[in-house]
Symmetry: C2
Subunit: 413 residues, 2 copies
């Protein structure tokens, strides 16, 4: 019933009753902004400033090189990995923070090809987030692996005894559609292939239980729903059962069994540590840890419930207020099939998005015609959705989005 609220007062009441409402205070958000883009870059958790300050002053400044030991810098990739493991339902020791999603896709698909030696096919979906495809194209060119790209609906059919692994986003970055992680993981296993999930739009967005699903490999992003800061390091997950035979070609000193013995030959470290390559990005990890710590004590079931309520509200309001204005909801209306975003289609979505940003309503554009509304229950209010849809209505009905300045492309869309 609460999701049928259509007045602003109703939304204010929903916010007042929201058990996650107080969590908004853990984030720094400008007062004049409706932020719909936490699925692209989460806002700073208040903890981040304090942590980074401490890192600069006490750890880097006073401790200097001693802080590798004394401030726990060297353990940070595993320590923060453990915290992320709890958020995504992975077991202790299965997650490590390292590099970028792109580099981690390369590492894990290389590992998959080694774990399934003799199989050369990697299955991906058409319309996958580009960097996953680009780096897999690079890997395929280097190794002779074959890339099999199919529509999302054909993923199961594409799996056969030649497939080493699939690598697929759990939630589609454009439409917000969520695939059935359990079902596709099972389908991979039935043909002896590995299931590798890109969780960039899932971690911190939807409840996950990778262990229960039997997921083999996963990568994910630190700067979206985890609020780790711009360009925060990414994470990798590998199921414990694969640790013993795990190998990957970006074998750097931090993945060595004894990094500070300075041996000449590579000896892989135990378990997930062998996914580490170079020196950990301490500053970036500090931001990420602050972001992940903001999730402490948060019930993911409550987050999902609010996310679905925000989505219902958004869909309902768009249907009511924007009918006949050329804009439509493309995210599946079935709750179980969507992640934590609502995507709107509008032929001129780019200038519409710019006009909204000029009003302080910050979503983002994805080509060719998608305007995304990221749903981030830790700090998003029901009134934010209300105000956003009102802004869309006003910008569309007034025609202000047609101003020439909004058509001028920025570097980053």
């Amino acid at each position: 019933v609460e999701t049928l609220a259509t007045t602003r007062a109703d939304c204010v009441a929903l916010d007042a009753a929201d058990p996650l409402g107080p969590k908004r205070g853990a984030f720094e958000l400008p007062p004049d902004v409706v932020y719909l883009d936490g699925n692209s870059l989460g806002p700073p958790p208040r903890l981040a400033r304090e942590r980074v300050q401490q890192l600069l002053d006490r750890e880097w400044g006073t401790g200097l090189v001693r802080s590798w030991n004394d401030a726990g810098w060297i353990e940070a990739p595993l320590r923060v990995g453990e915290k992320i493991a709890r958020l995504i339902g992975a077991a202790p020791g299965e997650v490590v923070v390292a590099d970028s999603t792109t580099v981690n896709v390369f590492k894990l698909l290389s590992a998959a090809l080694a774990l399934r030696a003799g199989r050369r096919v990697i299955v991906m979906r058409e319309g996958e987030f580009p960097t996953d495809g680009y780096v897999t194209q690079g890997l395929a060119a280097m190794t002779g692996a074959e890339l099999r790209c199919v529509a999302a609906t054909d993923l199961e059919v594409a799996l056969d005894a030649d497939v080493a692994a699939f690598c697929v986003s759990h939630v589609d970055y454009r439409t917000g559609e969520m695939l059935d992680l359990h079902r596709l993981t099972d389908a991979a296993h039935r043909v002896g292939a590995l299931a590798m999930w890109d969780l960039c739009h899932s971690a911190g967005a939807v409840p996950l239980d990778l262990t229960a699903a039997g997921v083999d490999l996963a990568v994910g992003c630190g700067y979206k729903y985890l609020n780790g800061g711009p360009g925060a390091p990414a994470f990798c997950m590998v199921a414990t059962s694969h640790h013993e035979r795990l190998q990957q070609p970006l074998s750097g000193w931090m993945g060595h069994a004894a990094p500070f013995a300075f041996e000449q030959g590579y000896r892989p470290g135990t378990g997930i540590t062998r996914l580490l390559s170079g020196t950990p990005a301490v500053l970036g990890i500090a931001g990420l840890e602050a972001g992940v710590d903001a999730w402490q004590g948060v019930d993911m079931v409550a987050v999902r419930a609010k996310s679905l309520a925000l989505a219902e509200l958004c869909v309902t309001l768009v249907d009511q207020r924007c009918s006949g204005l050329g804009i439509e909801v493309v995210t599946p209306r079935e709750a179980a099939r969507r992640g934590s975003q609502v995507s709107l289609r509008f032929a001129d979505a780019y200038p519409l998005g710019r006009a909204l940003i000029a009003r302080g309503v910050i979503g983002d554009f994805r080509p060719p015609d998608i305007l995304r509304v990221g749903l981030t229950p830790l700090y998003m209010r029901y009134v934010d959705i209300y105000d956003a849809v009102e802004a869309i209505h006003d910008v569309l009905t007034s025609g202000v989005w047609r101003r020439p300045e909004y058509a001028v492309r920025t570097v980053v869309t």
Copy 2:
């Protein structure tokens, strides 16, 4: 003459007359520390705190996702690369900031194998910094490339028509020995191979003119002499002449010709940008840019002159004060053959190093028996060297280094 100073008063006088002396004020150093480890982790430049603060508050906090355009985040890898290019004598457009040294070695050696298709040998030196070797072993296992490891003195002999490239540290991390960059680059070119230099202990340490030397490829570290902060991103350099045919397998969206067009096929961007893989580590790059900016207006010739004077002072004092104590200088005594460190050999260098750290004299240990004294003329004083050698003398003569607690290994040596 000034390098023969042997009293503390002489050193104080040298500091007072040092044209680089005032630069020390640009760094935050604890008052009770003699810092000899700037070749492992440089101290924070004062600019870093201000920049990172601004990034957290105004850019990430207020600007949010808009800062990719408005605060120049998206251009940061190239912008900071340009600044590093000036420090290492590379041309504009030849340097970009990305990932870690380890990951960059993988990218550039992959690129070298592609640029020299048909050649499968990579030449490295024995005793190379481990991560370079480890990741090249990973690359070799993946591609069938052959790794030819030889003593530093045999590098020229090891070059033949099968060699795609050598990858060698310009300055040895243990001994501080500097190789002849021009001569070895020429030797590679004579057999049609590429010269790839690891500049981790050269950038910001010694004058470099990569263009004049005809260097093809280079990688380097942001957190040592460049003072970019713990785990700061690394950099890659590729000579312009190779840009057109440049390709590397970690082909991510930031290396795409149009990252925000979200195309499905990889189209490499122009020039050096195709070495970018994932989303840039904005927080880490901000620290690095502060470090690099602290080099503005600094004359590298003056830095080298002071580095050599500090080295002479260190060698002279160790000879005078520590003779008969079992410690010896292993860095070449010939100025042209050393980088910006003095390495001391002592059978029990590990506990000696710990005992020195307990006294606030922070150098580092490299197995099996090396104590390193990094020379960092931007903030190091002649009295630091004096005090360090006195501390070594005292710790050795008193036998305090034999205390059992100093033998206990820390995680990071």
